[in-house]
């Protein structure tokens, strides 16, 4: 049994303009100690997916018309708020995008970590404090005995994200949700934080769901990838397969739109034209059709589901693998990319 199994999750929001289908039928599994990367543009539903796992979306306007979130076999969508409180922070922890605003400015970093520990474990203040110092040391905060009593504004951005990670790991969660944990940080700090997460995962054996728009981050970290577009999963598979041989035009365009240092000057970038679809009025047929470089007439009519294109590698596209490869070659040739 997988640690976490999400089946056909739908997370919708009621708004005056209609129902926003932020997540519309997403399924995936995460095993113990595994890392899943969820990739997509902003508005693709990836953050809402994470918030759904924790049941942190505001209800109302949010509601879950369908689906299951099975955590160790239990459906979290049926769990009570009290049961969820036991799970949050203890079995399943989360770190957020902006470390500058995610820590409460009026409490010391230590207090905030100790609080997380003491919500879930019957320990004395002293023990909680020792634990806080220990995790702060684990995440690479120098002189944690002193730093534990400092306020968030005395920490730099990178340190605050480390403190967030420390807080999240303080109860040894089975699964860690990381929602764009490096987006708000400087590039050099980004690498340090990612390295730290890999190290901690090895040490604690935590499963990680890494949510990001940055394919580079997942390629480094994830065992498998799910690409989201317009509230749906459009491609899933092992990291290498998806990254080196994407079978959905959207994932391929995403990869082609990243600048590559090793081929600077030789390869032209492929910008994705247009903007993500409105999640209220989804286009008929494939969501990506209006922006797709491989588009065929049928794409505007047929809504493709995820189908297994190669063993363990699924993509939502009506084109056959051969057609996709052909299109990739054609456009690469136009852009002047050498074929591998």
């Amino acid at each position: 049994m997988a640690l976490l199994e999400v089946k056909n999750l739908k997370t919708h929001f009621k708004t005056p303009d209609g129902i926003v289908k932020a997540v519309d039928g997403v399924s995936f599994t995460v095993d113990e100690g595994e890392t899943l990367g969820i990739v997509g543009e902003s508005g693709s539903g990836k953050s809402v997916t994470a918030m759904s796992l924790m049941q942190l979306n505001p209800v109302p306007p949010c509601f879950y018309p369908e689906g299951e979130i099975l955590f160790e076999g239990r459906n979290l969508l049926e769990a009570s708020e009290r049961e969820m409180q036991k799970i949050r922070g203890d079995d399943m922890a989360m770190i957020f995008q902006d470390p500058m605003t995610s820590l409460n400015p009026v409490f010391t970093v230590g207090d905030q970590i100790m609080e997380a520990v003491r919500v879930h474990q019957k320990v004395s203040k002293k023990e909680a404090r020792d634990k806080a110092i220990e995790v702060l040391r684990d995440v690479g905060i120098a002189n944690p005995e002193k730093r534990v009593d400092e306020y968030p504004h005395q920490y730099s951005g990178g340190m605050r994200q480390r403190a967030m990670i420390a807080m999240a790991l303080s109860c040894n969660p089975k699964i860690l949700l990381a929602d764009e944990p490096t987006t708000a940080l400087d590039v050099t700090i980004q690498a340090q934080i990612l390295e730290l997460m890999v190290g901690l995962q090895e040490k604690y054996g935590t499963a990680i769901i890494m949510i990001t728009h940055d394919l580079g981050v997942v390629a480094q970290l994830a065992d498998k990838i799910m690409v989201m577009y317009g509230g749906r999963a459009v491609e899933t598979g092992p990291t290498d397969d998806v990254f080196y041989d994407p079978l959905m035009p959207y994932s391929w365009s995403l990869i082609r739109s990243i600048p590559r240092l090793d081929k600077a000057g030789e390869v032209r970038l492929l910008p994705i034209k247009g903007s993500p679809p409105s999640l209220i009025f989804l286009p008929k047929g494939c969501n990506f059709a209006p922006r797709c470089p491989f588009v065929k007439d049928e794409c505007h009519e047929i809504d493709p589901g995820l189908e297994e294109k190669r063993p363990g590698h699924r993509a939502a596209c009506i084109l056959s693998v051969e057609e996709i490869e052909e299109n990739k070659h054609r456009i690469d040739a136009e852009l002047g990319v050498e074929q591998a």
């Binding site: 005056p16 303009d17 409105s278």
Partner: protein, 308 residues
């Protein structure tokens, strides 16, 4: 709120966010004005209040025409009579028709409110725009003046001033304008400062549009929302202050009726001739309440943060 309308320091959260607005406009292709109007229409109380205010203003302005008697006209056969068909709101101890006096008193209160609302907004905005736009010494001077006026104990000073100058409606309007412009000035200046840095103003400067034209054409439309909301606040507070001063015998002097001095007159008769106090009191509360609801509706409609 006895002292002064909407001091900007007293308001939590005036942060400006634009993203949801832009998104919303994009979704259905609406203009800013349509969004504001649609939101305002949803605020039922504000719509009703606006309507009531229009009626109040029209009837107060038309008081000489529609009132059944003269405001000083005495009817000695009907002294202290309760509301009846001839005297809708009864008569006072001099046999004067209370309805007529409420209408005329309304003229004073409503015009003072309107005058102070509009006047203080114009003064505050003018000072703010010049201060925010020219910066440097103009700004320092203007802000010093703002702080100065804000630090004054308004009501106690008005009490003494009232005993010196014998306030007439125009004078009290003028005095209140002089006291009420600073909060508006502060808010508008804040907006102007951020606008001054914006690309469209810099673009206008770059192509050589003269300063006054930039101010009128680009800055004014952008601060009009803040101005309107502040104007309603100032108007409401002005009506309250006028009534307080008149009640204390230091505002509008009899025989000119104002709701405040009518209440002062009615005070001793409150238990026996309830109608003499009831109607002016009701009018003050309704008027100020409507003005406040109107302001609230406008603020909600124009606040990018507000969620429907």
């Amino acid at each position: 709120m006895v002292d002064r309308p909407g001091d900007s320091r007293g308001e939590a959260g005036t942060a400006v966010a634009e993203a949801p607005e832009a998104f919303e406009a994009q979704v259905k292709g609406r203009t800013q004005r349509e969004i504001i109007w649609r939101r305002f229409k949803k605020h039922k109380l504000a719509m009703v209040s606006g309507f009531v205010l229009v009626i109040l203003y029209v009837s107060a302005l038309a008081a000489p025409v529609i009132s059944p008697y003269g405001f000083a006209e005495q009817n000695f056969t009907a002294i202290n009579s309760p509301p009846s068909a001839e005297h809708w709101m009864g008569t006072d101890r001099l046999g004067r028709d209370a309805f007529t006096r409420v209408l005329h008193g309304g003229q004073v209160s409503l015009l003072v409110g309107l005058g102070v609302g509009v006047g203080s907004t114009i003064v505050g905005t003018a000072i703010a725009i010049s201060a925010g736009y020219y910066g440097r010494y103009v700004d320092t001077g203007a802000m010093g003046l703002t702080d100065f006026v804000l630090a004054l104990p308004a009501l106690p000073l008005l009490i003494v001033a009232g005993s010196v100058f014998r306030f007439s409606p125009p004078i009290i309007t003028l005095v209140l304008i002089l006291l009420f412009w600073p909060p508006i000035c502060r808010l508008v200046r804040g907006q102007v400062l951020s606008l001054r840095e914006s690309e469209f103003v810099q673009a206008a400067q770059a192509v050589g549009v003269p300063n006054w034209k930039i101010m009128v054409r680009h800055l004014l439309p952008n601060v009009i929302g803040v101005m309107v909301v502040q104007a309603t606040l100032a108007a409401g507070t002005a009506i309250l202050l006028e009534s307080i001063l008149s009640f204390l015998g230091l505002g509008i002097q009899p025989p000119t009726p104002s709701w405040g001095n009518m209440l002062e007159n009615a005070r001793t008769a409150m238990t026996n001739q309830w109608w003499l106090a009831f109607f002016p009191a009701l009018m003050i509360v309704i008027t100020v309440l409507c003005i406040n609801f109107l302001g609230d509706g406008l603020r909600d409609a124009m606040d990018p943060k507000s969620v429907e």
